[in-house]
Symmetry: C2
Subunit: 261 residues, 2 copies
DNA sequence: TCTTGTCGTGTTATCATACAACCCTGATTG
DNA sequence: CAATCAGGGTTGTATGATAACACGACAAGA
């Protein structure tokens, strides 16, 4: 088996390059689950690095659950389902369709979370949301402080579900969405957007405060539709239930604007 | 002389122990974002291991986005939002409330995914679901083959959304739920459960096949309620919209049964 | 023939040391 | 005062050695 392993070009860390190279071999199917990797020594020579670097790369892949190794035997490719971490590599983040898909996933989470939050929120949760909203009011639209408080609001909503995983997942997805927006580059802001966005948040908060689950998810749906249009996505589809079965209608190039919250 | 055994508990890999030890320091706030870690040499001596092991641990934490390092300066704790991977450590998985919360998150995803799948499924998606269902029919309830096809069915539904992240997230959460069930240990099966579960799946498939988004999510809700009761959880709350604002009603001990699909 | 024990080889796990690349600081020097 | 340079400290990488473990080969014994 001659794995197509190129010599690594100098970059941030050699171990990172080696790890992603092996990872690519696995992702592209040249290394299937159960296969044994070349020995550390062999990998070291083929990559042109020291065995130490190879070991750091393998330690990383092992922590991700992609491979497992045993002393005296070797390293083997693990089953895909054994992945103990959920990761989205930076390369795919830069594709326009992955942005759209991430945004859709985020919307799905947010709408449901809003409904749960309305049913379970405590007074402390309400206070956290109001604090974040205040922070957004004083910060200029699109600034770091604004984005921070925006994320903080949504996190507070997620934490109001009393289910810690909700916040964990939502923040993770939201951060990927934000990175994806940054990767797309260009942005355009206006004071109008700030007012609109703030109003959307206020309606969400009001519904949650009132314990109105249905209203909260509706307000969140509106907010996400607005956010989608502000970043150049067709709004309706970002909601949980698409009106039309627009099959395979992905790959829109338009990703404009920065503040997507 | 084996005096090193006192410094670190023997485990799978020293680097793993060091990594989780540092990770715990960060999680418990003794190391805050921006703080500088001790030097590799210092960590090596305090842990009683070689610098090489420390480097493997740091390589792992760096890949997870928990810390960042620069040559000539040192290693620093990164912001929590910079985490590039989503991970749920095994310890918290074993707690009963985390199981309940994970199940709720999974339910939220499944119900929405079913609706999307009904709107977007292709013929190939339908074929994949039917194949998985066939596999469940021939395998004994709760067996490895049964669980594999069960997961395969839900994965097929997720892939029918034409959004790869849906499947990625769902499989991740489902695997954690399964691990959590296994951690709880005891299980009880019956042919009755097999028939019931199969019927629930068939109704989901029928709704998706018909393009009935509302029916699909309803069928999935019923399925999840059934699965919840089969593993000893109160069924209704696992659905997306809890009937009552049962605040802080977590920490149920009853986690019985294995096949939760 | 079958079992069992031993040994040798290959591999990973760990250790130890050395050097290169780089950052930071402070003294030197123009 | 500013620029430069030397030095120490830290991470990044290379190299060699040793320990722990897996596995097959092979011979001795029943």
């Amino acid at each position: 088996m001659t794995l197509k392993l190129d010599k690594v070009n100098r970059g941030p860390h050699l171990s990172t390059l080696v790890a992603s190279s092996i990872s690519r071999e696995i992702a592209q199917g040249r290394l299937k689950p159960g296969d044994q990797l070349p020995t550390e020594q062999a990998l070291a020579t083929t990559f042109g690095v020291s065995r130490n670097v190879v070991r750091e790369a393998i330690a990383r892949l092992r922590s991700e659950g992609r491979i497992w190794s045993q002393q005296g035997r070797g390293a083997f490719v693990a089953d895909a389902t054994n992945a103990t971490v959920l990761t989205i590599d930076y390369e795919t983040l830069q594709r326009a369709d992955s942005f759209r898909n991430l945004f859709e996933l985020r919307g799905m989470l947010e709408v449901q979370i809003a409904a749960l939050a309305a049913a379970r929120r405590s007074d402390a949760d309400i206070a956290a949301m109001e604090e974040a909203l205040d922070g957004m009011r004083t910060a200029p639209y699109g600034s770091v402080a604004w984005l921070k408080n925006d994320l903080g609001f949504h996190r507070a909503v997620a934490e109001a579900t009393q289910n810690p995983y909700m916040g964990q997942f939502l923040v993770f997805v939201s951060e990927r969405v934000r990175e994806s927006i940054l990767a797309a580059g260009n942005q355009q802001k206006s004071d109008d957007m700030a007012r609109t966005t703030l109003g959307e948040h206020e309606r969400i908060l009001a519904a949650i405060k009132a314990g109105d689950a249905k209203g909260a998810s509706a307000a969140m749906t509106r907010h996400l539709a607005g956010a989608a249009s502000r970043v150049g996505l067709p709004g309706g589809e970002a909601s949980a239930k698409p009106a039309s079965p627009a099959r395979h209608s992905r790959l829109r190039k338009a990703v404009r604007g920065q503040a997507a919250g």
